[in-house]
Symmetry: D2
Subunit: 357 residues, 4 copies
């Protein structure tokens, strides 16, 4: 069964294919009375928008969002908020290659195996274009959690990591890579451009931090905050791994080194470390919620890969078109959006069970 809805009480559904007339999201369960307009959503879409540098796809979509419902006199009414983004740059290209043969790494074969049928134009529903709908929904989610500050950045491309000693959050928006380390950003220009010229692609790691999350959000056991975040991140195209806090590195620590000791603080316990990434037992601890997400290299490359056709014949395929040489870069606003969507949902779930505002 196709489940295109995410969330428990603050929920969003997305629809649309990369080459249909439009894509969109419906946000359900948003609290009433929140001031909102397209201007609150557009900046996040602009951040994700293709065609802003040579390091991202040259497809050009204005990605202008329209609010079709759920808002009256500039405020949310508590009813579903329908968001629509028209697809404008559907270049009438030739998709016969993709229609005939399966692109390795893409969902082509899996969709055919499942549905017996697929919209092959630009990846159809499995296109990363769908993530624009998430980003729009995420902008609404941020309004629900005004005290939470969320930011993400790329910490590694093609195996070349930032130096945390040079970490400067104010640098993130100063380069086309959402990179907090200006020297790494410089290196990545060559790295990514080189991959692009080779017709190849690179993977990346995105990190995301949410501060201002109070202790107590999370719905044990099967909607734990970390479980929901893992589901949210793993649903993003090209994501193959998720770590909360130290993640796999924690598996290499001894218990005493992995502990996050506490001491009395002004407003409750003060933590002396954050190996846990702000979550214990599936519930937020009041520390910043931190996670890392692995993006595989873009599967669309100009280097021929062995494959088979729908008819079962051997073939080589190269994926022409306007592709991101490193899809993880544009994953940054998507990761932020999913973080916001999960946290908004968990905030409302928490007050459902435990009350409070």
């Amino acid at each position: 069964m196709s489940f295109n809805t995410f969330g428990r009480v603050f929920r969003f559904s997305t629809w649309g294919e990369s080459h249909g007339p439009a894509i969109g999201a419906v946000v359900d369960g948003c609290p009433p009375g929140l001031p909102i307009s397209e201007a609150d959503i557009q900046p996040f879409l602009d951040k994700r928008k293709p065609g802003t540098s040579k390091f991202t796809t040259q497809r050009r979509e204005p990605d202008e969002v329209r609010i079709l419902s759920g808002v009256f006199e500039g405020r949310t009414t508590g009813t579903p908020i329908s968001l629509m983004i028209e697809n404008t740059d559907q270049r009438s290209k030739d998709y016969s290659d993709v229609a005939k043969a399966y692109r390795p790494g893409h969902a082509d074969y899996a969709y055919d195996a499942k549905y017996g049928f697929r919209d092959y134009r630009g990846g159809g529903r499995s296109s990363a274009r769908e993530t624009a709908s998430r980003v729009a929904a995420g902008a609404v989610a941020r309004l629900v959690i005004p005290d939470v500050d969320i930011f993400a950045y790329v910490s590694e491309i093609g195996g070349d990591a930032i130096d945390y000693a040079r970490f400067d959050a104010s640098e993130i928006d100063n380069n086309p890579f959402f990179c907090p380390d200006p020297e790494a950003a410089k290196r990545w220009e060559q790295l990514v451009d080189g991959a692009r010229k080779d017709g190849s692609s690179l993977g990346a790691v995105v990190e995301c931090v949410a501060s201002g999350v109070p202790a107590g959000w999370g719905a044990p056991l099967y909607a734990k905050l970390d479980s929901e975040l893992a589901a949210a991140m793993m649903s993003i195209n090209a994501v193959k791994g998720v770590e909360i806090g130290d993640g796999f590195a924690a598996a290499r620590l001894r218990g005493e080194d992995n502990a996050d000791p506490m001491r009395p603080g002004a407003d409750g316990p003060e933590f002396l470390a954050n190996h846990a990434g702000g979550i214990a037992g599936g519930i937020s601890t009041g520390q910043p919620v931190k996670l890392r997400v692995a993006f595989k290299p873009t599967s669309s490359i100009l280097i021929p890969v062995e494959t088979v056709t729908r008819e079962g014949e051997a073939s080589d395929i190269i994926t022409r078109g306007r592709h991101d040489p490193c899809v993880g870069i544009r994953g940054v606003p998507v990761v932020e959006a999913m973080m916001a969507l999960v946290l908004a949902d968990q905030k409302l779930l928490h007050r459902a069970q435990c009350g409070g505002d």
Copy 2:
């Protein structure tokens, strides 16, 4: 809100605390007519059972499961299957330390922050004891997917990894670590025993493989197979990271190296690699589904850690009791169970939408 149910159509709910009279699971949506008895479930519980070696907790629970409903004349009826495991070894120990102060790394503080209140005996609901219910439910799930073979093993403890060149699946059950590399297993004896004697603990990495999954399972976009698996694994106590296929390593590959080329095979495409872990676009490809899970070191250690009391006073805490020096070891049957539960659910979801048996 507390969500103690997992799954979309094949669903299970668990209940129970480590020191209450019993724990249990209710499995809902199981197909009718499957032959089943306690004997189909007990071996999986025995595999997870504490007290089987000095490398796991010395708590002794027979963990005998009873089927209370949903089965008639040895077959599932299609109605809820209620499974109950009585708690028998609830040693009347002194929990006043835990009641008073928060154990770092545990859910103590988070539960108090959320609920204003917690059952502090042995971790209460946040105890790993709950995972016995999952293992029982997972045994039912396996009956739904008889053609799928699932096995997990420990690939790394405390940073000491197996050598894949020595990988031998038949070794997994020959040592107390579920280790497929007999030499690593030997090293781990000392490693784990040393940590235990130090009153410390170690993390671990568990890997799981499901073969026999046909192409086409997975419910894009927000119940993608990998997204569901990530949620399932991250809901297990002490898990901090999940990778599908190559996971974070994929982020360091170039596109042409990460591709899983295909060529014509006897029964549809044959894949020449499996970097993707058997999932593309959230749908199974017919290759083995592979994932890795990071377990942090057990938080209960005998080495004092700085903490605060419920009243906000500074304190040191050591967690006496019968704890696993490496909780990841007993995570193996739990990871397998969650894999089975997700796959059973996805199988039924697939046939809901796409038909077939």
Copy 3:
């Protein structure tokens, strides 16, 4: 929490207000490969369309549906089907009366009490206009259950019932009341027109029959077929009662009179009566599924009713505008749509658990 989604695996969500730019539905979980175009949906919308006779509201909306996603080369792809209907006849009228005072029988006061705020233009989200989205979604549902024949009709207006001895299904579309009894239809012309001229309104009873439903659909216990139908019908604006089969009349029968005896038939048991309305234990029996729905009289009337303003002042209100004198009439296609939506969902649920097809 606002739940604007209905269904378990074949699910639809609706969005939109009567006076926003558009309304719509997203249908999720539709099986792939079904031939579909706007032409399959439009006739159902036309049936519900306002302004077709003097017995329905004079608001004129073309109610043209557009398919925005989920369809490729004329067939469903298995991905979400986004349906949009633009609002065109949003007469720029004066809503200051409604903004200031609560219309008794309407959701005005309840929405304000819940949300502290409401879109008062034409009822906003609580307007019966939303039901156009359901009718569109219902047209898709019908494609999922091609062997099921669904039809509804009005059996009673303002207490004046049809004579079942004159029941003629072919008459239903021959009069503006969806009335299967031509003599009743004639009487109703005067009745409804009289109410309209008085500025008053009338209630109605709608009956719906689905034949061709095989035995075995229904998901006991809390998604029983009758329970789902009751929820579906009671979610329609102005509905105050639902009966399955004989409904309240069954409460006046003795056991032996209410029994539906069976005898051997060509294809399994043949029933000699259908008091149960085709459902036993929440599961279809193979007989026609039958239900009755009570619509209250339209709350918007030109006769002044005592009320209070938002500021708590006493006031009288009359609801000017273009209203249906008997909202039950246009409820007919909505009841049919909800029947189709429930049955499509239950069909897929059934095959999820029990296989087949």
Copy 4:
């Protein structure tokens, strides 16, 4: 698919068959800190308990509830509350008749058609015995809504209705029929006893009132308060109809007579009538929530009814055993429980979206 869970955030699942070892419910999402013990639940079970008069089944079950989880030191912890009731009076009788032939009006044929298989002992999962689990869960729900007063009563048996002029709520518990009219109660003794002696059975109408529900509960559109109530009531065994407020009678009123006028009151608007049953637009208005439920006559009767065997042979069947001559009577505490369960859920949903305590 079998859905044995009800509710959105305050949720309960039931399990168990009439002739298995036990039945039970798991209540999930209950707010923490509520004082609770078995003594809070038992009185409601006692009210429903069989064998208390000759007008109900002579099956004798003590129906003693045990709390197995979710409670610590006499208070709810916010984790799942597992409730178990052992089956003790499973008379080892001969079910070969029921195994062989389908009892008309029962779920026998439908279960076989769906699952190919059924637990025929005493109705198995479709037995009204399951409702004991609901009553237990409902007792927990009442703790969540302490300011709401819920009571139900029988208003009609076998077509013989109470006289509302003699309505006296204090009489409800003074007779075996939960009848608020002592004269009707007297008549019903003969009526019900007569049916019992004839081996026949009678239907009934149960009415339920919840006062103290504040304005604003209800989750439009597809979890409207009335829609949820309709689903809840229609899921009870033998229920064939549900009315909110005036229900079908409203369909016979003119708009001005069905209006519930308002005037200024001490605490917000005061309503001058309650045709709507306390719900408008799916949201509570602050008036008492009122509904009516139709129970068909018990299908188990001693009068032979024509039927078929599993093998398709013609047969007559009479249902021996200890049955309620009027199952609606013992439906009273079940209707109350479902009302409580829906209201508790809607309270928590409301505060999820709109905040407040």
